[in-house]
Point group: C2
Chain length 659, copies 2
């Protein structure tokens, strides 16, 4: 059911509206009284009136229809209040009351939600700080919010307040602020989806500690991120943080790596911290065009040097100034200056020189970071006024000096992004230009008949079964065979060709190397000895063609929130050391597989020294694995190593676990 009644109710009742100014129930009612132009009613079991408005003992007593209730009564009273709301045919409820799942009271929370569901009421919360919309403020924040085009969605009330404070301080206008609370009913993806359609919202900023319903998230978000930028900050990304998040909103913070993959998949932007989030908000609230090629204009050489460094460190590029433009610039620079990027207007530059320089470079297709250090010859406000003339040409102001705040205000009023640290601007641009392509994951399940046959009823696969499964899914394997006697071993090895690799073949997955169960470089005359040595561990022995090439690791897991995930990284024993593992959600598409190979540096390793290793075969293997784990609902699997060489990609050792 739509969230229309939550965000655009025609009438609101505050249940628990209080006469005492310091009570949440009073603050919420007052905030609504001052902002809301629909019909508003206080509900208070004892008082005759609240803030001069006639109060009702129960929502049922209100003579008019009520679209939404805001509930601030003690938690024990919430079920009863919800019952009454159902009887009154209310459509939406904001439960500000806390003390539910976040402190272990899951049962009470479930009871409230089940009453609401039966009555067709959509519930925000419990344990929410409330919402702010362009029409009303149903929170207990004192803040006077500036209206604008940035929407905030937060799982933590404290962060919600912080962002509102911050918005006011930095003059960022807010369209919506939604505190999700425990998300017992209304979920983050529904709110984001709703806001993505809101014409007053230019970008959505989301603080999450966990995602409740991964499938709906993956289903809904790609559409939302196409409409406007959706920026995520995740709390609980480390084990400390995750433990803290759990006690805090009752949500379990899942694996951060999987969340990262999910955000990339849906086309969201994931920032590292609050600071980055706020800096990105400063960029996205305006319409100034931003490119990944930058031009730095400054009156301080040192700032030019540091900013160039930051640009390169963040993987952005310094734009090349064409020669004719350099010639023109030469005319306005002191004779000893060389026109280049960073463009140092030198310490004696006045506002006229800034103007001339900007005029000359304005048509250059690049983002212009205009840095001004207040010096005797020029002030930040001077240059801010100059920059204002170039709005729409990709200008961003960096103002440094005692009048920097005034200069910031001048730029912001003109609608030009402005910062006091160049690195803040550079990082915000990096996030924006690297915004991933939104992809919808369509998880078709159509297992191959022979694969079903092979895995039916099994908890794990034996090595030869795993080899067969690979082949069924079109994943290449080295030549291989199984032997249970010396004679058979000799025959199999002969048919494969020397040298061969011989390994133990246990019924359950074990760590073969650690058990000294793998012998490489076995020649014809050694097969017998090696067999008798290995058969002391397991009678059955696997014999394989010996391969060379790059050892790659491909893993598969089923995440409790986001479903099947594929991991790609360095194979062999260094996978844990190098930690160059990239994560992608199933099914993986060809272009995504390529991105995973870039991210994990496997691409760089494959193409080092031009050995002609077959990257496409590796991509195909990743894709096959990503489909197979979904088809067969595999709990976890590893291919380690997968050898990639000039002939293709070959799964050498495979471990698979089902439920």
């Amino acid at each position: 059911m739509s969230l229309e009644y939550l965000f655009k109710p025609k009438s609101i009742a505050v249940i628990g509206a209080s006469r005492y100014k310091e009570k949440v129930g009073n603050v919420v009612f007052r905030n609504l009284l001052y902002t809301y132009h629909g019909k508003l009613y206080p509900v208070n079991s004892k008082a005759e009136d609240v803030e001069g408005v006639k109060a009702y003992k129960s929502v049922k007593e209100i003579p008019d229809p009520i679209d939404m209730v805001v509930i601030t009564v003690p938690r024990e009273a919430v079920p009863q209040v919800m019952e009454e709301a159902v009887e009154k045919n209310v459509k939406a409820a904001i439960v500000i009351t806390a003390g539910f799942k976040e402190v272990g009271e899951a049962e009470l929370e479930d009871k409230v939600i089940s009453i609401a569901r039966k009555g067709g009421i959509r519930v925000l919360g419990p344990n929410t700080f409330g919402i702010i919309t362009p029409e009303f403020n149903a929170t207990f924040a004192y803040t006077d919010v500036k209206r604008g085009n940035i929407a905030l969605v937060v799982q933590s009330g404290g962060l919600g307040v912080y962002m509102l404070n911050w918005a006011q301080k930095y003059r960022v206008g807010i369209s919506y602020m939604v505190s999700l609370g425990n998300q017992a009913d209304v979920k983050e993806y529904e709110v984001i989806e709703y806001l993505s359609r809101d014409p007053e919202t230019r970008a959505i900023f989301v603080y999450l500690e966990g995602v409740s319903d991964g499938n709906s998230f993956l289903e809904t978000l790609p559409e939302a991120t196409k409409r406007k930028p959706v920026v995520f900050l995740k709390g609980g990304t480390t084990s400390n943080g995750a433990a803290a998040a759990k006690t805090h909103t009752g949500s379990l913070a899942g694996s951060f790596e999987v969340f990262k993959a999910a955000v990339r998949t849906v086309g969201g932007i994931l920032v590292d911290n609050l600071h980055d989030m706020l800096n990105l908000a400063k960029l996205l609230m305006y319409s100034e065009p931003v490119t990944e090629e930058l031009l730095v204009i400054t009156n301080s050489g040192g700032h030019g040097v540091l900013t160039s460094d930051e640009i390169e460190k963040n993987g952005l590029r310094m734009v090349e100034i064409p020669d004719w433009m350099k010639e023109t610039l030469r005319k306005i620079l002191p004779p000893t200056s060389v026109p280049r990027n960073p463009l140092d207007l030198t310490g004696d530059a006045n506002k006229e020189r800034y103007y001339s320089a900007l005029k000359i470079v304005s048509e250059l297709n690049s983002t212009k970071l205009v840095i001004v250090q207040a010096l005797p010859m020029v002030s930040c406000t001077d240059v801010a006024r100059v920059i204002s003339n170039f709005k729409g040409k990709g200008v961003i102001g960096i103002t440094m000096g005692l009048d920097e705040d005034t200069a910031l205000k001048i730029l912001e009023t003109t609608g030009i992004p402005a910062y006091t640290f160049p690195e803040d601007a550079v990082k915000a641009i990096k996030y924006f230009v690297n915004k991933p392509i939104p992809r919808k994951k369509i998880r078709t399940v159509q297992p191959i008949e022979s694969a079903i046959e092979l895995v039916k009823g099994k908890k794990t696969l034996k090595d030869y079964e795993a080899m067969k499964l690979m082949e069924i899914y079109g994943i290449r394997t080295p030549k291989w065979g199984i032997a249970e006697s010396v004679e058979e071993a000799q025959r199999v090895a002969d048919s494969i060709g020397y040298p061969v690799v011989m390994k133990i073949s246990p019924d359950e997955p074990v760590h073969k190397t650690e058990m000294k169960g793998v012998v490489v470089n076995v020649e014809k005359d050694q097969v017998k000895d090696v067999y008798s040595q290995l058969s002391k561990i397991t009678k059955r022995v696997m014999i394989q063609e010996q391969l060379n090439g790059l050892e790659v690791y491909i893993g598969g897991i089923r995440d409790p929130v986001f479903g099947h995930v594929v991991l790609v990284g360095s194979g062999g024993i260094y996978v844990e050391v190098l930690k160059n593992v990239a994560y992608g959600l199933s099914p993986i598409y060809e272009d995504e597989a390529q991105e995973l190979l870039m991210e994990s540096k496997i691409h760089a390793m494959l193409t080092a020294r031009k050995r002609g290793y077959d990257e496409n075969s590796l991509i195909r293997t990743i894709i096959s694995v990503s489909r197979m784990i979904v088809d067969l609902n595999i709990r976890e699997m590893d291919i380690n190593p997968l050898f990639v060489n000039e002939r293709g990609a070959f799964a050498v050792d495979v471990r698979i676990v089902f439920d």
Copy 2:
């Protein structure tokens, strides 16, 4: 000669003191007039007086002795003015005039310096913005500087001004500000050394684009960093930045990796950017004790989660609250709250609850990050006053809300570090607790006689010569031999034992693998074929024992600024891909070698899967290389691979280049 006359002159003349308010020569004179209590004289070739003070046509005409001159005349006049200063027996000069080496006029600069040197004058600059000391301001900054205990040393005038502005804005007191300019005479290390002895200075912050004299830097700095923290920010760390730095102060920015190694060696702290530098200044200007174990106290769960994440990401630790302390905390927390770290005092915490919590935890050995989000129940200023009572207990305030600036001021006046972003505090703490141990590099040169014999007159070594050189320096090699015929090859291989590795043995270093000049796994019956194949490329063939183990890369280079440097990283062909190379200056000490192995992840690789690989042998090899390259003045060398296994570390392939 000491810098005493530069920083504590008894009399100053401003040569080029101007009557026109907007001229540098006027601003400098006025700044001195208002701050300096010694004897001050304007020198102006035309005017009778400047700012009401009698002016002289030349410094020579001044009737009293002059310790220092500040020169602001046009560059053409500087040599003449310097001559006169010499005649006047001046001891120090600040040359503010620009237009020397930084714009290609190296000759003019050299001329000025040679005049000064002959006359015994120490020169700061040219192209300097001037200096500020506790006694005077000899710059052309308008800023009114707050006196305090942070010293700034900058190579860029613009950054100097910026830091002064910043200091004023954030109420950071400055003891000294020194703009180095072109460093034609007075060098950064002399200034840092001088300031490290200054009793009014608590920490020194240095912005550098390049180091002029690496040996003196390495010699002087370890003593300075023992006295007080010295923090570096390097401009020109990337190729963009380096090019910009060159045009900017005429200094060539060297390899950033080597600079990083140099700063670590001398015990300096290297920050990533200006932002980090300023945040660290906020920490170091106070005496609050800081540890690497942190306790987070907050009234907002979300901030607690995010801050825990930051702490873990930065390699710091969350302190464990002892059980008895938890029991005590339980009494002051709401019944539903669990005392843990982060300690969530919850959204209804008032200042009394903050006070009680701080009282309980105050003796816990940890840094306490006290976060306050202004909420209806509590304001930032309330909590700032509470925190002030715990100065000296390792408290740091994080204030968030509309009154955060007032709260910051309250904390700063009490001498407690305070921030508005938790991540800023966490990062500052990380830099501080990871301050490296200062080490003095003593480069003794005492080459072994037989090594001199071996390398005499050579530009490179042949492979077998390189093997011998390794052995002379106690570096282990695999069993090896050289063969120039099939018979000899067979004999050598027999004596080594199978399988062997056979490689071409050219007279000049080449890329053997790319020339298909390396064959591994050679068995007895294959020696003949392999020899005849390889001998088509080079008649001489190197035969080696085939080793296994971890392939490590050890390199040596001679840096133009800092001398000999050792590189340690992954060997084999992935060295460029993984980029896990750590740099250390020769000679490397045992504990440093261990740090390099940690930094390059080689330690983790060596110890993965408990294979008993001999790390100590690798450490010995690194140390031997670091001494050998100095002894023999090697221009560059690589050992790649060095095989490390349970028996030791073995140099398999060595390339050495002399001048």
